[in-house]
């Protein structure tokens, strides 16, 4: 017979939980098997001696008084779990409120009013750098763009100070040579022009540059805000933010 079953019977026998048929079978086996009998005796003695664990007597009042004192003090304690939780929630809400207020304050200081992307037409598929607040994608080469800008300046059509912006803030005009009496595409640049530029311009200048780009490429020029999440035209921007003196404009050429 399986040793496991015999072992289970011995344990059930010790605990008085064995069935009558199993009990008779086990007793017969123990009578015939001295090893099994010895095992049973040892387990029984272990049980008997374990039952003799020393007992504890408790002083009738001393411990009660101790518990009573602790319970009383916990009842009186200011820092109950509910109070600690309430204070924690208050602090949490305060932090959330302060963070939100700071966000709103920063938005107002920048003078930016976000226009949801869904209300404005999206720019083309050109990937724009999200690190700057205002990005103008010209859709034309830098050479063509600056040639046109120079011509318009000469004719007095450009926005005041636009040319100075590039002359003072960049090196695109250094060494540039004008030929053929200053017609279209008459200026050559000795060095390869950059594919992008960052300049600080007034909103009106930015609008003028956007219009110039639009005239050259035929595509609508919009300004994409930080992260590329929203787009807007400069007319709206100027109308919404009359007090802004200058903005950093990131110009992209092709």
């Amino acid at each position: 017979m399986n040793r496991k079953i015999i072992s289970r019977w011995v344990n059930e026998y010790l605990d008085g939980e064995i069935g009558l048929a199993d009990k008779a079978e086990l007793e017969a086996r123990m009578a015939a098997n001295p090893e099994l009998r010895q095992e049973y005796k040892e387990l029984r003695q272990i049980g008997l001696l374990l039952g003799c664990v020393p007992e504890i007597t408790v002083h009738p009042h001393r411990f009660r008084q101790r518990v009573r004192a602790v319970v009383d003090s916990s009842e009186r304690s200011y820092f109950t779990a509910q109070r600690v939780f309430a204070v924690a929630m208050l602090v949490f809400l305060l932090i959330i409120g302060l963070t939100f207020s700071l966000f709103i304050y920063q938005q107002r200081m920048l003078g930016i009013r976000l226009v949801p992307a869904s209300t404005r037409p999206q720019l083309g598929p050109t990937p724009l750098r999200p690190a700057y607040n205002f990005t103008l994608d010209t859709h034309v080469s830098a050479e063509r763009f600056f040639n046109r800008l120079l011509v318009e300046s000469r004719l007095g059509m450009a926005e005041a100070g636009v040319l100075q912006v590039f002359a003072t803030q960049t090196q695109v005009f250094e060494g540039a040579v004008c030929k053929n009496g200053g017609g279209l595409n008459s200026t050559t640049f000795p060095q390869p022009l950059p594919t992008s530029l960052i300049v600080s311009v007034t909103p009106r200048q930015a609008r003028a540059l956007a219009r110039l780009a639009q005239q050259l490429s035929g595509a609508p020029a919009y300004v994409r805000l930080a992260g590329g999440s929203s787009a807007m035209d400069f007319d709206s921007f100027i109308a919404d933010n009359p007090s802004v003196a200058s903005i950093p404009l990131y110009i992209v050429f092709h």
Partner: protein, 205 residues
């Protein structure tokens, strides 16, 4: 309706005076809780002593058990006897204590010795059977009992707790299963395994 059901459940498992005591405790009656401590303090001390031995923190542990009882008595729904529920609380406290102690001893800092005499609220009484008047045999039995107790306390916690519940407190398989939240079959197999482990570790002649 729920209260009535709960009351019926108490009546199934507890004596009427215990049910009344529990209800008063659940209502926040401190006097009732004081009575509950008086009624069960010896039971709790003995359970803790059986499971972790004589420790400097025996009294602290008993206090922790009663504080937990005070805190959670409202959650006692009477699905088992109050003694079984208290046994569960004691086991949880003992396990937490053992974990804490082993983490503490890893820092090589010994625990302070147990408080003696007047400082403590309890006494440990020897209960070896005195059926024999043979002093030599008594000494031998005492040594053997200590060896067995040592072997039991050295068992993995799942075997130690279950063997003490069965052999010392004489709980039925069903009661053990209820307290530990395991099946009766698992109780049987663990008891069998625990006995085998003790038998292997202690030579009983």
């Amino acid at each position: 309706m729920l209260l009535a059901q709960t009351r019926d459940a108490y009546l199934d498992y507890n004596a009427p005076e215990v049910s009344a005591l529990v209800m008063r405790c659940q209502a926040g009656d401190l006097e009732a809780f004081d009575d509950l401590v008086a009624r069960y303090q010896r039971y709790v001390f003995n359970l803790i002593y059986q499971h972790i031995g004589d420790s400097s923190e025996l009294e602290d542990l008993a206090q922790e058990v009663f504080l937990r009882i005070y805190k959670f008595i409202r959650k006692y729904r009477g699905h088992a006897s109050l003694e079984s529920w208290i046994y569960k609380v004691v086991l949880n406290c003992c396990r937490t204590h053992v974990r804490r102690r082993s983490a503490f001893s890893r820092l090589f800092m010994p625990f302070p010795p147990a408080a003696q005499g007047d400082e403590r609220s309890y006494e440990v009484l020897d209960t070896l059977p005195d059926s024999t008047y043979d002093p030599a045999k008594t000494v031998e039995q005492k040594r053997l009992a200590e060896d067995i107790l040592w072997a039991v306390r050295a068992l993995p916690v799942v075997y130690r707790d279950i063997l003490i519940m069965r052999e010392v407190n004489e709980l039925s398989y069903e009661e053990i299963a209820e307290i530990l939240g395991i099946s009766v079959g698992t109780v049987k197999s663990r008891i069998s395994r625990a006995r085998d482990l003790v038998r292997q570790r202690v030579k009983v002649s």
